[in-house]
Amino acid sequence: MPLVKNGKIATDTFVRVADDDPLPGDGAILISAARFLEDTEAVSRRLGKTGVIWPNNRDVDDLVPYLDRLAAVALVFPTFRDGRAYSQARLLRERHGYRGELRATGQVLRDQFMFMLRAGFDAFEVKKESDAVAFTSTAKRYSVFYQPTGDGRVTALHRRMQQRHSESAGR
């Protein structure tokens, strides 16, 4: 499964560690929320980055106290029809100021890229190779956005107001 990061197909530097496997002494790891919360101190004492896979049916509030220790949060789309992780992503980015990697996992398909980018995801475990290859062109498909989110894209309403101002200034 290819990983797309910062718009490009990239090597995944994180290793997924199952709940019953020992934690490696160093290197970047991705572990379950349950394992992380069980002993956050032990995990944090390790050398190497920590990423947590956060389920889509658990409040992100429970993760908020630890955000500054995390290098990655992986949110889950069990199917592409299940959109809970979009809300979690926006809460982490926009309300809780999380700046680390925010990874979309599960059934991640081309047709969700734009929504995910707008919600604050910056890394994508893409299901199909062809979708990963098409990432850049897909991300450019839209140039007009109606909703303000934390991604910084300027909304249509805002652009109209700017136009108004420049028109009245030029008069």
Binding site: F80, G83, Y86, F115, M116, Y142, S143, V144, Y146, T155
Partner: protein
């Protein structure tokens, strides 16, 4: 009319090109049907019994003549020469080919029409009062806010994969023509004690297999906070709405299971964290949207012009005028409803020729504007009263002057088993039979206001729960049976109808409705006690007795 600007146009064109790519990937097999299904639904494409069906949005029920002509073109070019207006200000084309869908959408995009989110588990077409902007006594034109919501809900990055579909309706009149109480979010525009404009917000209304009347979650949300408040509701729903069972996934179930107080608390908490954000609508922003709605330059005209006095001698004209013409906020003008319920016809259907004719008449007599109502009729919203006689003759020529608006033959019906893959029973032939039974206008007029709503299955697209008489098709041992309810209504006093007894077979439905109507005529206190009021006063028992005494 709202005029699309370059940004709106760009966005729908980008959407069409994305969909063209999705169709191409489906046809090449790159997308599975399961993957494609959600994508096509988000563009209004269903797979029905015989073909693909395209549902096109008519936001808040407003169309220009140019747009209506384009709908006629799509009916002719890609379909079989007609379209079906639905109960949510959409039009459906029933015979479209998958490979041609992107072209049809591109043709529509040229006139600012789209099919985005007319199905799928997302925020659907925002509906409103079909008399918005012209009804006397309105607080203000609710379409300004409808358009703000249309933009806000279109391709929302957070709420495009909700637990289930989500419908908004807005009204700004005391008499609710938008059925806001049976929507996921219903908005009633009003002014608070300080004279500030805002919304009573209702949540959790809906029909389907578990009907609920919406509950007030907040009596007053200022206009500037509308979007942040809506976002708070949607965010709570997106995270906590049930996803384990499709039949329990609507917000009405979440509201019901949590209770409105608890749900309101959750929303309030979420809202307090977001209300002062980029979603706040300051006056300049609202004005910017308002400025792109244009209104006709009305003339100063007499209320009772000579043309109207003369035509009053023609009883047929008078019958139509009394039935189909409503008061306008501007003196000398009227709102004219065009019945799409001819005797023997499928409710809500219009041919391409009729659409073209209406577009021409709108240009001549209604400043080029047409409205679509949830009762599946059209309206011309700005007709000079002096033009009523000539308009009536023109409408009559194209079969659009049936004087049955709000009468027993003005039936709301879903497409039913004739088209729909979900249906258990036919709806259209029941409606057609009823229009024949009550074809005599004097009889229908004597009966007075009576809404008959027919759904071909429990999904309730024909809004049977809120029909004064509701008819629901069910299947029993491979045969079509129909449950009959009475006492439902969709207006400001919205209520779910009560079942009168065991389901009856297809062949008996029209007889049962006749029995109910006869019972009403015998029981009403006076001629102006409406059916719905008589049911409220008497309960269902006398009607039940009458219907089942001989069955």
């Amino acid at each position: 009319m709202y005029a699309y600007d370059e940004l709106d146009r760009t966005l729908i064109n980008e959407r069409v090109s994305e969909f063209r790519d999705q169709v191409k990937r489906r046809l090449s097999g790159e997308l599975t049907e399961d993957e494609f299904k959600m994508l096509r639904l988000q563009n209004g494409v269903y797979l029905q019994l015989h073909a693909y069906m395209l549902r096109v949005a008519i936001p808040y029920g407003t169309l220009s003549s140019k747009q209506l002509r384009r709908l006629a073109h799509v009916a002719r070019r890609y379909d079989r020469g007609y379209g079906h207006f639905t109960t949510r200000q959409n039009i459906q084309f029933n015979w479209i080919k998958l490979a041609e869908l992107p072209d049809a959408l591109a043709d529509l995009a040229e006139v600012g029409i789209h099919a985005m989110q007319t199905s799928g588990n997302n925020t659907r077409n925002v509906t409103s009062d079909q008399w918005a902007g012209v009804a006397p006594g309105e607080i203000e034109d609710p379409r300004i806010w409808s358009e703000l919501l249309r933009q806000y809900t279109t391709l929302h990055p957070e709420f495009s994969f909700l637990p289930r579909k989500f419908k908004f309706a807005i009204t700004a009149s005391a008499h609710d023509r938008a059925a806001i109480k049976v929507h996921d979010i219903g908005l009633r525009l009003h002014k608070n004690a300080e004279g500030e404009t805002g919304f009573e917000v209702l949540v959790g209304g809906g029909l389907g297999r578990t009907p609920f009347i919406g509950k007030t979650i907040k009596p007053f949300v200022p206009g500037r906070d509308l979007l942040s408040y809506v976002e708070a509701i949607l965010r709570v729903y997106n995270q906590y709405g049930r996803r384990d069972n499709i039949y329990k996934a609507r917000i009405k179930i979440l509201v019901h299971e949590l209770g409105i107080e608890k749900f309101a608390q959750e929303v309030e908490q979420e809202w307090l964290a977001t209300r002062d954000s980029a979603l706040t609508l300051d006056d300049a922003v609202v004005e910017e949207i308002r400025s792109r709605f244009t209104y006709p330059a009305y003339e100063k005209l007499p209320h009772m012009p000579d043309e109207l006095k003369k035509a009053a001698h023609d009883p047929d004209f008078e019958t139509w005028r009394k039935n189909s013409v409503a008061p306008h906020k501007v003196p000398g003008y009227a709102i004219v409803t065009l019945s799409l319920k001819p005797v023997g016809g499928p409710p809500g259907d219009a041919t391409a020729d009729q659409m073209d004719a209406v577009a021409d008449l709108a240009d001549k007599y209604s400043f080029g504007e047409i409205r679509v109502g949830h009762e599946q009729n059209l309206a011309l919203p700005h007709v000079a009263r002096r033009d009523l006689p000539v308009l009536w003759r023109a409408l009559d020529k194209v079969g659009l002057a049936t004087p049955n608006v709000n009468l027993v033959t003005d039936i709301i019906a879903c497409p039913g088993l004739d088209y729909c893959s979900l249906a258990n029973a036919r709806s259209i032939p029941i409606a057609q039979e009823l229009t024949r039974r009550f074809a005599n206008h004097d009889t229908a007029n004597l009966i007075g206001r009576l809404h008959v709503n027919i759904s071909g299955c429990i999904n309730a697209c024909g809004h049977h729960h809120v029909g004064h008489i509701g008819i629901l098709g069910v299947e029993k041992n491979g045969e079509e049976f129909y449950q009959i309810t009475i006492g439902g209504r969709a207006d400001e006093h919205a209520a779910v109808g009560t079942l009168i007894g065991p389901a009856v077979p297809y062949g008996e439905v029209a007889d049962v409705v006749e029995d109910i109507v006869e019972a009403y005529l015998a029981l009403r206190e006076r001629p102006d006690e409406l059916f719905i009021d008589a049911v409220k006063r008497l309960g269902v028992e006398p009607f039940r007795e009458r219907v089942y005494a001989t069955r």
